[in-house]
């Protein structure tokens, strides 16, 4: 713990010596005092407004983009976007040169302004971030894209602002792949679904004819590996999101499940169950060479690589009950790391490499928690009736997972929803989905 604090201290020291602005946000602690920020609607001239209506059927795409930014900053829990009704300056004038006193008057510490033009089927956006207290510009950026990408523009602006003010990469220009669920518990229909991180642009990737589970992105977020019961043969599949092509990768003489990509995207690691025993295997996606990683009569499943490819954490009941283990990626040096009370499952290595997130079952309650990779420093973030399957935001600051509610004896009252929580244990929120949802997997940053 002390080491971690020291590391944070060093990071902060380095950052603060680099930064020249007065505003900084500490994201390493629960933020109970979010930064007041004013997100001015992005200015759009009349000509662009006409083009906006023609191209997007949206009257004021500048306003809409500012709402995307505002919502992202709000759900991060680090910012408090101020009500636009209190804004004194017009968007176009503020974008040229804000009257800092006016913005200070409404207690804003930071201000985002911008300008949008749509011409020749191109969307051009420029924005600026202002430090109100210091009375100066902190950042100015412009980009051009196709008009249909306007929500992504809002996400990219959010990421730039987050990065400038926290010193760490954002996680807004990302997508979530998950399993959409409908129907009664005894006859649940499940489909693969993908959406923007903020719940918009949902697309369904399978029709619900066969059971699908546990989709996970590859590092570039172009491919997904998942479990499908196509033709009643539970096997690991690979799906190209852009082209829609699917193929079996785990066509072994038995069930393959619990797939995940290696951090370099070259392999899929998964469980293969045969004759009552599940072990961990990898498949090289280029040459299709299969390697056996564990060989033990117990259940070995839920493998997840460390970001440097050198280690694998996994779930095994070789001690008699479900516990978390770490081994070298060749399967040697197996060590148990979970020793607290209860059962542990679904270990997943943080993209920063320092932590493993997990699900814990103890005395009839389910917890999402984190521990260091040697098992020390266990910290439980949230307790509930049922929740599992954490997935990390690409910057390693937020976990998304799913939660189920208890049903009554008739099976009524059941629901499955996605939730997110900060690594600090604060800022727990339900993530909006069109249907019930489970098994979320967070993509990498799409714009990088």
């Amino acid at each position: 713990m002390i080491r971690i604090i020291n590391i944070f201290f060093i990071i902060f020291f380095l950052l603060s010596s680099k930064a020249y602005s007065l505003i900084e946000i500490d994201i390493t602690r629960g933020n109970l005092d979010p930064l007041p920020i004013a997100v001015s609607p992005l200015f759009q001239d009349d000509n662009s407004k006409r083009n906006s209506i023609n191209e997007l059927k949206i009257e004021n795409v500048g306003s809409e983009i500012s709402l995307v930014v505002e919502n992202n900053l709000k759900i991060s829990g680090l910012f408090n976007p101020l009500s636009k009704e209190a804004f004194l300056q017009k968007p176009d004038i503020a974008h040229l040169k804000p009257r800092f006193e006016d913005w200070a008057l409404i207690k804003a510490q930071a201000l985002i302004t911008g300008k949008v033009t749509i011409e020749d089927k191109k969307l051009k956006v420029e924005f600026r971030l202002w430090d109100i207290l210091a009375g100066r510009e902190m950042m100015a950026l412009a980009f051009t894209t196709v008009p249909g990408n306007w929500r992504r523009v809002g996400h990219i602006i959010s990421d730039k602002v987050y990065e400038r003010l926290t010193g760490e990469k954002g996680y807004f220009d990302t997508r979530i792949i998950y399993v959409s669920e409908e129907g009664p518990k005894t006859a649940r229909v499940k489909k693969l679904a993908i959406m923007d991180q903020d719940g918009f642009n949902t697309k369904y990737l399978t029709l619900g004819n066969e059971l699908v589970l546990t989709p996970r992105f590859n590092p570039t977020s172009q491919m997904v590996t998942y479990l499908s019961y196509f033709k009643n043969l539970p096997r690991v599949y690979l799906l190209d999101i852009e082209t829609g092509t699917q193929e079996v990768v785990g066509d072994f003489p038995g069930m393959t499940f619990a797939p995940r990509f290696s951090p370099d995207g070259k392999k899929i690691i998964m469980s293969f169950a045969k004759d009552g025993n599940s072990d961990i295997y990898t498949m090289d996606l280029e040459n299709r060479i299969v390697e056996r990683i564990t060989n033990h009569p117990s259940i070995d499943t839920s493998p997840s690589y460390s970001p440097d490819n050198r280690f694998i954490t996994f779930n095994s009941d070789r001690s008699g009950f479900q516990q978390i283990y770490v081994m070298k990626s060749d399967g040697s040096n197996v060590k148990r790391i979970s020793f607290g009370k209860g059962l542990y499952g679904t270990p997943v290595w943080s993209p920063r490499g320092d932590l493993i997130a997990f699900t814990k079952l103890h005395k009839g309650k389910f917890y999402i928690g984190v521990m260091r990779t040697d098992g020390s420093g266990e910290r439980l973030l949230t307790e509930n009736y049922y929740q599992e399957a954490p997935s990390w935001s690409p910057n390693g600051r937020v976990l998304i997972f799913y939660r189920e509610t208890k049903s009554n004896d008739k099976g009524e009252g059941f629901s499955a929803k996605l939730w997110s929580i900060d690594l600090t244990g604060y800022n727990e929120r339900q993530v909006q989905t069109e249907t019930d949802a489970s098994d979320p997997s967070w993509s990498s940053l799409l714009s990088n």
């Binding site: 619990a258 399957a389 004896d409």
Partner: protein, 162 residues
């Protein structure tokens, strides 16, 4: 000296017997809720029959794949029936309750289905006639969230494959 030693020994013996009897009472007191023994479902009300008197499913304790006496009895009936109907192949489905992580439950379902399959094999049914599939916690028969519902869902089900 001697007296106190023997007194201590007697005391220890009494203490030990108390502990043992405490354990024993704990073990024999099964919570009979609906139709459960320990936490294994013993009822027959949800059972479909492969044929008259041949139940299709057996039930397991939480996190377990050990066959109970009752399960073995059911599986022997299935084996007899399969011997008499040698043209029929079966799929043994393995299932888990909703109180476990999805991936572990898939593995657990597979283990349960194989426990049933292995027992059928020891009673003379050829392994080629039995395939297994695990549904983990994906296909409950009872949608309640209570110990009795969960015990009905921790099961393996033998279904005709052709």
């Amino acid at each position: 000296m001697n007296f106190s030693k023997s007194f201590r020994n007697t005391f220890l013996v009494i203490l030990l017997s108390l502990i043992v009897s405490a354990c024993a009472t704990k073990k024999t007191t099964t919570t009979v809720e609906g139709q459960m023994q320990g936490d294994v479902y013993t009822g027959t009300d949800t059972v479909k029959y492969l044929a008259d008197g041949v139940p299709d499913r057996v039930f397991f304790a939480t996190n377990e794949s050990i066959l109970t006496t009752k399960s073995r009895d059911t599986l022997r009936k299935q084996a007899n029936w399969l011997r008499e109907n040698s043209s029929i192949n079966v799929v043994v489905e393995g299932h888990a309750d909703e109180r476990g992580t999805r991936e572990y439950n898939l593995a657990l379902g597979e283990r349960r289905a194989n426990a049933a399959k292995d027992y059928l094999i020891t009673y003379g049914i050829s392994a080629d006639r039995i395939s297994v599939i695990s549904y983990g916690k994906e296909r409950p028969v009872d949608s309640g969230s209570n110990p009795l519902s969960w015990s009905k869902n921790r099961r393996s089900v033998t279904v005709k494959a052709n």
